[in-house]
Every structure is written in structure tokens, then in C-alpha cells.
């Protein structure tokens, strides 16, 4: 197994964790796993700086979400969104089962599309697959979301996948804008993680 394949597998694993996690603790783990996984993929082209840029955003988001439990000012979901009434609803599938089923479809689509995308001089089959899968995980979380935090995590997955792909394409010229792209949804995730969900249950 080559280094590129190993790092791409790490990116895939981070996205898979973000796909299946639930709750505030799940958001912390997702942000950290995504940052580390996609940071590894970004380092293929951008080196150590790219790794620290991507992983740093993920780690910072994870720390701030965790700190939000003790510092209410960080968890501003309530004043941003008001008091959301929570509604219980019976579902045929558990939300994780649903995401897993759709995620398998996304995995196939990412596998098919990855070979068609070019990202600079890097051999893109594996790394592009990881980026595409992270993007798809974001869309799945948005589509199946049961609260504002799911939308924010979806945005972070999308931004991480896209930014990593941009770094693979042009590592030196896009680092700043890539970090900005990831930072905005990361801030959203920090603010919205503790907001009341729209629906109860799993």
C-alpha cells in the first residue's frame, strides 16, 4: 500500500466517522476526525503546512465545541435561532442506518467520479475519492439532518472536502482561501452544536 493510498484511507475514515456520528460529543469527534483525515490527504501535495492548516481547523473546532459545554457564550444556538420546539417523530429507519445506506451509494458515486477529476500533479484516484466522499457526506448530513448542528457539520464536511481538493490542485496559491473556506462552517458548527434539535429520537 502506497503512502497516498494510506492517507486517502485516513480521509475516508474521517468522513465515515462524520457520517455516522450523532450528538454533541459526535460533533467533537467528527470535527477532529475530519481535520486529521483530510489534513493527511492535503499533505500529499501541500506538505506539513497543508496538514496543519486543515487539521488545525478541525482540532480548533473540536476544542471550541467541547469548551461550549462549560462556556455558554460559545454555544450561541439559542440566541441565534430562538427556542426551537422539539418534535418526536416515528421513523422507519434509525438515522444512522439511513445515513449508512445513502453513504454506500455515495461511496460508489465517489469511486466512479474520482478517476475523472484532475488535481494538479498528484495521482488523484485515491485522494480525489476521499475528497469527493467527504463532500458527499456533507450533503447526506444536510439532507438527513435533524437539527441545526447537522447543517453546520454538513457545511464543514463540504468545505473540508473541497478545500483539500483545492490544496491538491494548487497547494501554494490556495492555502489562505482554503482555510477561510473551512473556518466559516467550523465557526457555524461551534455556534450551533448545542442548539436544540428539530426532532428528537435517533
Amino acid at each position: 500500500m502506497t503512502v497516498a493510498a494510506l492517507l486517502a484511507a485516513g480521509g475516508f475514515l474521517g468522513s465515515a466517522i462524520a457520517l455516522l456520528s450523532v450528538g454533541a460529543r459526535g460533533m467533537v469527534i467528527s470535527a477532529l476526525a475530519l481535520g486529521l483525515g483530510m489534513g493527511g490527504v492535503a499533505s500529499l501535495s501541500g506538505g506539513v503546512a497543508a496538514f496543519f492548516a486543515v487539521a488545525g481547523v478541525g482540532a480548533a473546532a473540536a476544542v471550541l465545541i467541547a469548551a461550549g459545554r462549560f462556556a455558554p457564550g460559545l454555544a450561541s444556538g439559542r440566541w441565534l435561532l430562538g427556542r426551537s420546539p422539539v418534535v418526536g417523530r416515528e421513523r422507519v429507519f434509525d438515522v444512522r442506518s439511513l445515513r449508512l445506506l445513502v453513504g454506500i451509494g455515495g461511496l460508489m458515486a465517489a469511486r466512479l467520479l474520482a478517476g475523472h477529476l484532475g488535481a494538479g500533479t498528484v495521482s488523484t484516484q485515491g485522494p480525489a475519492f476521499a475528497c469527493l466522499f467527504a463532500w458527499e457526506v456533507g450533503i447526506i448530513r444536510v439532507a438527513t439532518g435533524r437539527g441545526p448542528s447537522d447543517l453546520a457539520l454538513g457545511g464543514l464536511c463540504v468545505a473540508m472536502g473541497t478545500s483539500t481538493f483545492l490544496i491538491l490542485s494548487a497547494p501554494h496559491s490556495v492555502l489562505v482561501i482554503a482555510v477561510l473556506t473551512m473556518a466559516v462552517p467550523a465557526i457555524g458548527l461551534v455556534l450551533l452544536t448545542h442548539a436544540a434539535p428539530w426532532e428528537t429520537g435517533s
Binding site: S84, L117, A119, S169, W198
Partner: protein, 415 residues
């Protein structure tokens, strides 16, 4: 630099309106000040910066370039907001809504001026996300409001992904179609074209007053974004993008046309607007000057007449507004639609027939709306509102009779 300073000052003024806008005269004075300030800044920026680049860039923050059309749309939206406040009178929009409507001008300006897809994605997310936050605050997580939140993230996702795969796009390659699908999804999401009905659904849930966010900012910004995306894309992408948007626009117009005809009286104007958004999307997707002009005439007609549906005005202003936007000659609504029919006819008789079908549906909706208004509304309202209704009707007649001159004067568009 000028634009950055302008954006900061603009934000401060919007914040001031939000904070102290409960006193009515503050809103009026601040509205005029904002319009003057923005006009001055945009004029200075327009004189000192170069023309907008033809191609969008995938990486970096790109450059800002301000066209005459963008200036016209930004100032036009602010003028329409002022008209809305005058029409509403004592039942004016609350200070929070007015402040947000003014503040949204800053991200709207960035969407219209930046040549970086990533920056456009950020600004679009701010535009849509701000309105979603406000609506979730006042209405709670109702299904339609939740859908709008999802729609905002999907638009952001589509634009950033389109930026990332832009270098992979080449003639005949799979990424070209993917790029077109992503750009079409982004354009449709900003405007509220099917399958993204978040705007229409939320407005129907929240009532006519909140309609202003969609009508004043999202629709014109989405249309100009669509026009820019088509113009700045390669041939391979632009062809697929246009076909997708023509199909989605017509489907939206037919769907909301039927819903408007068969649905209840409440929210009828929102359904007319949703139907017209489909027509405008189709018009711009033809990628001709006539198509763009047709869409812009419809935007102007809704800016003029839409405010009359948000307040409890009497029967005459509402009737005049309905006539103005319904497609009865010689009003602006008719001119925009007939220009679209002519443009569609040059592409395909089937398209032209479908547009005519939608126009017929809209005439039916307007007729039903007029009958309902005559049957249920009081026949008189306050003198200022009656006057505003008359002025609005006169303006839509002027727009319909001299559309070329009106577009040239207001938006700098030459037919």
C-alpha cells in the same frame, strides 16, 4: 478598498437601523442616507476599477469589478425597499427586518461583483443563511423554514464544489456535465426554482410581509448570478447549464402557475412570484439580450407592485398591482412576458407554447385574485396608499410602454 470601506459603513448603518429603527423617522432618514452613501461609493468604485473579468476563477479571492447592471440592481433593490416602507406606512416592516434587508445589500454586492467562485459561495451563504436564521427565530423550525436552511448549505456546497472541479472541465468530459449540474443547482437554490422551493414554502408559511427578502434581493441576485455563470462558463458547461435551467424554470413556472390557480386566496401573490421566478430563470437561460431584458422587466414590475401585497391596502391599489404584474397590456408584466414568448419562439415552438401556457395560467390567477379582492376587501384605503397605488400602476404602464428606455435608464441595459 472603496468597496471594503463601503461594506463596513453599510453594516454600521444597518446595525443602527436595527437598534434604533423603532422610531419611524429613523428608518426613513437612514434609508435615504444608506442609498446616498452606497450610490456614492459604487460610483467612485465604478470609476476607479476595471471591467469585470469574463471568466470566473476557481482559486484565490479574485477581483471585484462593478458593472452598470449590478449598480442598477443594488440601487433598485434599495429604492424598492424605500417604496415598501412608504406603502406599509404605520404597519411598516419591523426594525429588525428593515435592518437585515439593508444589510443584505453588502453580500449581494459581493455576489454581483466578485469573479471568484469561492467568494461568491461565501456571500451567497451569508445572504441565505441570514434570512434562514431570522425566519427560524420568528417561526421556529417549521418544515419549510428547515428546508430553506438545507437549501442554503446545498447552494454553498454546489458553488464550492464547482470551484474545485473547474480545472478538470474540458469538452466532452464527465466533469463538464457535473459542473453544469452544480452551477444549475446553485442558481436554482438562490432564486427558489424547483426542486428548491424553500423560499416559496417559507414565505407562504410566514406571510406576505417577509416576502421582501426573496423579492428584493434573492431573485435579482440569483438571476444576475445565473447570467454571469452562463456567460463565464466554457461552451461545454454553458450548453448543459442553459438546458438544465430552461427545463427547471419552465417546470417551476408550470407548477406554481397551477398551484396559484387552484390554491386559496391567501398567499396568491407569493405563488405568482414563484411562477414568475420560473419564467425569469428560463428567460435568462436563453442567454440572449432579449431574454435578460424580459427577466429584468419582470423584476422591475415585481419591485414596483409587490409592496402593495404586503400591507393591508384597499382594493384599488391591490387591483392595480395585480393588473400591473398579470400580463395585461400595456403594463410591464405584459411586456416582459411577450418579450420572453418572442425569445422562446426563436429557439423552439414547443418552448414558446409552454411559455404561452404559463402566461395564460397567470392571467387566470390574476382574474381570480381580482374577483376575490372585489368580493372581500373594503373599497377604499388611506389617501397616501391610494396615491402610491396609482403611482405604482402608472410606473408599470411606463415600464410596459417604453421598456427599452426604462431598462437603459435604470440598469444600463441596451436591447
Amino acid at each position: 478598498m472603496t468597496l471594503a470601506v463601503g461594506t463596513v459603513l453599510y453594516g454600521l448603518l444597518a446595525g443602527a437601523i436595527w437598534r434604533w429603527g423603532a422610531r419611524h423617522w429613523v428608518l426613513q432618514v437612514a434609508g435615504v442616507l444608506v442609498a446616498l452613501l452606497v450610490a456614492a461609493l459604487l460610483a467612485v468604485h465604478g470609476l476607479t476599477s476595471g471591467r469585470q473579468k469574463a471568466q470566473l476563477v476557481a482559486d484565490g479571492i479574485g477581483q471585484m469589478g462593478l458593472g452598470r447592471l449590478a449598480v442598477g440592481l443594488l440601487l433598485g433593490a434599495l429604492a424598492a425597499l424605500a417604496l415598501e416602507l412608504v406603502v406599509a406606512g404605520k404597519e411598516s416592516l419591523e426594525a429588525g427586518a428593515t435592518g437585515l434587508l439593508v444589510a443584505l445589500g453588502a453580500p449581494a454586492a459581493v455576489v454581483l461583483t466578485s469573479d471568484s467562485l469561492l467568494v461568491v459561495a461565501f456571500a451567497t451563504a451569508v445572504l441565505m443563511g441570514s434570512v434562514w436564521l431570522r425566519w427560524q427565530q420568528i417561526a421556529g423550525p417549521q418544515l419549510s423554514v428547515r428546508s430553506l436552511g438545507r437549501q442554503a448549505v446545498i447552494v454553498f456546497a454546489a458553488l464550492v464544489a464547482a470551484a474545485a472541479i473547474l480545472p478538470s472541465v474540458r469538452l466532452g468530459a464527465a466533469p463538464s456535465l457535473l459542473e453544469a449540474v452544480l452551477l444549475a443547482a446553485a442558481s436554482a437554490g438562490v432564486m427558489g426554482v424547483l426542486p428548491f422551493s424553500g423560499w416559496a414554502g417559507a414565505v407562504l408559511t410566514l406571510g406576505p410581509r417577509e416576502n421582501a427578502f426573496w423579492r428584493l434581493w434573492m431573485v435579482p441576485v440569483g438571476l444576475l448570478l445565473e447570467a454571469r455563470l452562463i456567460a463565464a462558463s466554457s461552451t461545454a458547461v454553458a450548453t448543459s447549464l442553459r438546458e438544465l435551467l430552461i427545463g427547471l424554470g419552465l417546470a417551476t413556472a408550470l407548477f406554481w402557475g397551477a398551484r396559484g390557480l387552484l390554491g386559496p386566496e391567501s398567499g396568491r401573490y407569493s405563488r405568482i412570484l414563484a411562477c414568475d421566478v420560473g419564467l425569469m430563470c428560463t428567460a435568462v437561460a436563453f442567454a440572449t439580450v432579449q431574454g435578460l431584458a424580459a427577466a429584468l422587466i419582470l423584476v422591475l414590475a415585481h419591485w414596483l407592485a409587490g409592496g402593495l401585497f404586503t400591507a393591508e391596502s384597499g382594493v384599488r391599489p391591490r387591483l392595480l398591482a395585480l393588473i400591473g404584474i398579470s400580463g395585461i397590456p400595456p403594463f410591464g408584466g405584459f411586456t416582459g412576458r411577450i418579450l420572453l414568448v418572442i425569445t422562446a419562439a426563436s429557439f423552439s415552438p414547443t418552448l414558446s407554447a409552454l411559455v404561452l401556457l404559463v402566461v395564460g395560467l397567470q392571467l387566470g390567477i390574476a382574474a381570480a385574485g381580482m374577483r376575490a379582492n372585489l368580493a372581500s376587501r373594503p373599497t377604499t384605503s388611506s389617501v397616501p396608499r391610494e396615491l402610491v397605488g396609482l403611482v405604482t400602476a402608472l410606473s408599470t404602464v411606463i415600464l410596459g410602454v417604453v421598456p427599452i428606455q426604462a431598462l437603459q435608464f435604470l440598469l444600463g441595459t441596451h436591447l
